[in-house]
């Protein structure tokens, strides 16, 4: 199976051939890697690559596999387009700001329509006894801000959009 990924702007073309059980042979630029992969959970893998042992976490979404090895995180992207867009700092005009954790809205710092700067706090959410500022990921105008102090939000909720 042929696979392509992008990491830090570089393209990786691999050929992955499953062998018996949980063993794979991966060919990358003519270099051969024998891989023994044991899935501990759906995201945590014990990998033995050419006899070297790695315990890795791989979280996948529609655009990338986020790989954590030790103290480092690698965003291995599935498509060139996004990767190069990121390279060129082109981000689509309108963007949604989602929250990855559930929490309680403690304060709303700006109103709908307000012009904000990248890094400016828009909301404060509380979870696990800590208050966390939700910041604007870029300059823009805040829209669709519907939450108010006291609201409980689920993980994945779109808190506001930036025009």
């Amino acid at each position: 199976m042929k696979l392509s990924f992008w990491l830090n702007g570089k393209q990786y073309n691999l050929n992955l051939e499953p062998q018996v059980k949980n063993i794979f042979v991966i060919n990358y630029e003519g270099k051969i890697f024998e891989v023994v992969a044991t899935f501990i959970t759906e995201e945590e893998i014990l990998l033995i690559i050419n006899n070297r042992v790695y315990n890795v976490l791989v979280q996948s979404n529609s655009t990338a596999h986020n790989v954590i090895i030790g103290e480092r995180k690698y965003q291995v992207e599935k498509r060139a387009s996004l990767a190069s867009a990121r390279e060129q700092k082109i981000i689509s005009k309108k963007s949604e700001v989602k929250i990855t954790m559930p929490g309680k809205v403690v304060a709303v710092q700006v109103e709908n329509g307000a012009q904000v700067k990248e890094g400016q706090a828009v909301l404060i959410l509380e979870a696990m006894k800590m208050q966390n500022e939700i910041k604007a990921p870029r300059d823009g105008r805040v829209a669709n801000l519907k939450v108010k102090p006291g609201d409980t939000v689920e993980a994945g909720t779109v808190l506001f959009t930036l025009d």
Binding site: M1, K2, L3, S4, F5, L7, N8, K10, Y12, L14, L16, P18, F24, I26, Y28, F33, V35, A37, F39, I40, T41, E43, E44, I45, L47, I49, Y54, N55, V56, L57, V58, S60, H65, V67, I68, I69, G70, E71, R72, K73, Y74, V76, K78, T100, M101, P102, G103, A127, M128, K129, M130, N132
Partner: protein
């Protein structure tokens, strides 16, 4: 002298587990309480008896004084151990225990109340000859006084709430122009947090170390200190890693701090275990900061070097036993470090990460102690703090302790939620930390440092490839059960391949 039979632990998580363990080792019956999200928690599993507190919100459960008193009376517990946090430093709760004839394992309500009032405890400490940070001894009365006092102390300075701590009502003022607006903000925050707008001024100590002394005081006035803990590794004013001995101070200062800590506790009639916190400036001058009138989160590092079980000491003091050791008999050996593993995502600005623990493997082996409050299958709730586990390493030397802690962190597998383990690996690799050269500013600087690149890019790509194959296989086998024709499956895989 009273011998307890049963102790109610008015807490949850790792500290409830910690106290239950010592109860078991003393032959006491540990009684757990639990809110509805904690019915499968480790502290419930390990207790001898367990009583429900109802809904999860702290005010309804672990902060509900009357509910806890009622359970203690119902199960006939002679004593309550409050752990830390929740009701541990609530003098109203201490007083309710005293009224009901239940022994509160901690100081009496009098000193507890006094220690909550920051300006009054500063006055008391000054009277007792304890060095305090230069600043005001009374709350600021008005803006005129504010300006006079600030100029007398000099900038930068700190505005602090008189009625409490934890960073609430705290403002750093670097120059005179910021003073008035900072004062108004601090006062309104103090009012909101503690119902009392009073603030006072303290000189700001630059490049400070946060070092604390563990003390034990029995009911007969005997008191000892058990060495210090270096607590300068802080993020947003929260300690995340502690070690003993401190790589910053020497035996002479260590002894002086210990003696002053004991004097400070004696001066206010303190009892049981407590921690006297000091700020130490870069010239190793030290100043009283506050007393934590309870068992400290980081108490295990002191236990590791002294061999003394501090929870046992607390219970014995509460039973009325005299201290079983003298100051001379306390001889710390080796070095211990603790890191607080939190349910936070270090790659996403430390956002909290509650959720279900799908897989758990904790490290072991020589010199490693794991004080965790979690089990596999447990859903880490959103209602309480994010501390999952304290991992503690002991070594004959500081280097050995660091290397052990690092290898143990690499063994630790908490899957299903995010944890701060990767962040600790960064700290333990940092040359300044390895040199013992850090103060409370270390982490804010570390977070700005870029991660050094490694040659593991290809490993990450291979991991992604294996994951992609795994997901694809799962998807295809879910869509067509095994009975479907192989060629159909192949077609499906081909289809999917082109999508990748």
């Amino acid at each position: 002298m009273k011998k307890f039979k049963k102790i109610l632990i008015a807490n949850r998580g790792e500290i409830a587990v910690r106290i239950i363990r010592t109860c078991r080792e003393m032959g006491l019956i540990p009684v757990a309480v639990y809110s509805e999200v904690d019915s499968q928690a480790l502290h419930v599993r390990l207790a001898e008896e367990a009583y429900p507190l109802g809904e999860a919100a702290p005010a309804a459960s672990y902060l509900n004084i009357e509910k806890i008193i009622t359970i203690a009376k119902k199960c006939q517990a002679e004593a309550i151990h409050p752990g830390y946090g929740f009701l541990a430093e609530n003098h109203h709760f201490v007083r309710r225990c005293e009224e009901e004839g239940i022994i509160f394992i901690g100081p009496p309500s009098g000193p507890m109340e006094l220690l909550g009032l920051k300006t009054i405890s500063r006055q008391k400490m000054k009277e007792a000859g304890v060095p305090i940070i230069p600043g005001t001894l009374e709350p600021i009365k008005n803006e005129k006084e504010l300006i006079e006092q600030a100029e007398a102390i000099g900038f930068p300075l700190l505005l602090k709430a008189s009625a409490g701590g934890g960073g609430k009502g705290l403002r750093l003022v670097r120059q005179k122009e910021e003073l008035l607006s900072a004062f108004r903000l601090a006062a309104s925050e103090a009012q909101a947090s503690f119902g009392d707008p009073s603030v006072y001024l303290e000189k700001y100590i630059d490049e400070p170390h946060h070092i604390e002394i563990q003390i034990l005081v029995d009911n007969y006035g005997q008191a000892v200190y058990l060495g210090e803990r270096e607590c300068s590794m802080q993020r947003r004013y929260q300690k995340i890693l502690e070690e003993t001995p401190s790589p910053f101070i020497d035996d002479n200062i260590r002894r002086r701090m210990g003696e002053i800590a004991v004097a400070a506790a004696r001066s206010i009639g303190y009892r049981n275990a407590g921690t006297v916190e000091f700020i130490v400036d870069k010239n190793k001058n030290f100043y009283f900061l506050e007393v934590n009138a309870r068992l400290q989160v980081e108490h295990p590092i002191t236990e590791m070097v002294t061999g003394i079980d501090l929870v046992r000491a607390q219970i014995e003091i509460a039973q009325g036993n005299p201290l079983p050791f003298t100051q001379e008999q306390i001889k710390p050996q080796g070095h211990a470090i603790e890191c607080r593993i939190m349910a936070e995502d270090p790659f996403q600005n430390f956002l909290p990460s509650p959720g279900k623990i799908l897989y758990l493997h904790r490290p072991g082996g020589p010199g490693i102690r794991d004080d965790s409050g979690i089990v596999e299958g447990y859903v880490v709730p959103i209602e309480y703090d994010a501390l999952l586990s304290k991992l503690i390493a002991w070594g004959r030397t500081r280097d050995e302790a660091i290397l052990r802690l690092r290898r143990a962190l690499r063994e630790y597998q908490i899957y299903g939620i995010k944890t701060t383990i990767p962040f600790f690996l960064r700290i333990l690799d940092h040359p300044d930390f390895l040199a013992g050269n850090y103060n409370t500013h270390f982490l804010e600087r570390l977070e700005k440092e870029p991660l050094v690149a490694t040659d593991e890019d290809l490993v990450a790509v291979i991991a992604a490839a294996v994951k992609a194959y795994h997901d694809l296989k799962k998807e295809t086998s879910a869509v067509w059960p095994t009975k479907s024709h192989p060629w159909k499956l192949m077609g499906r895989i081909e289809l999917l391949r082109s999508r990748l």
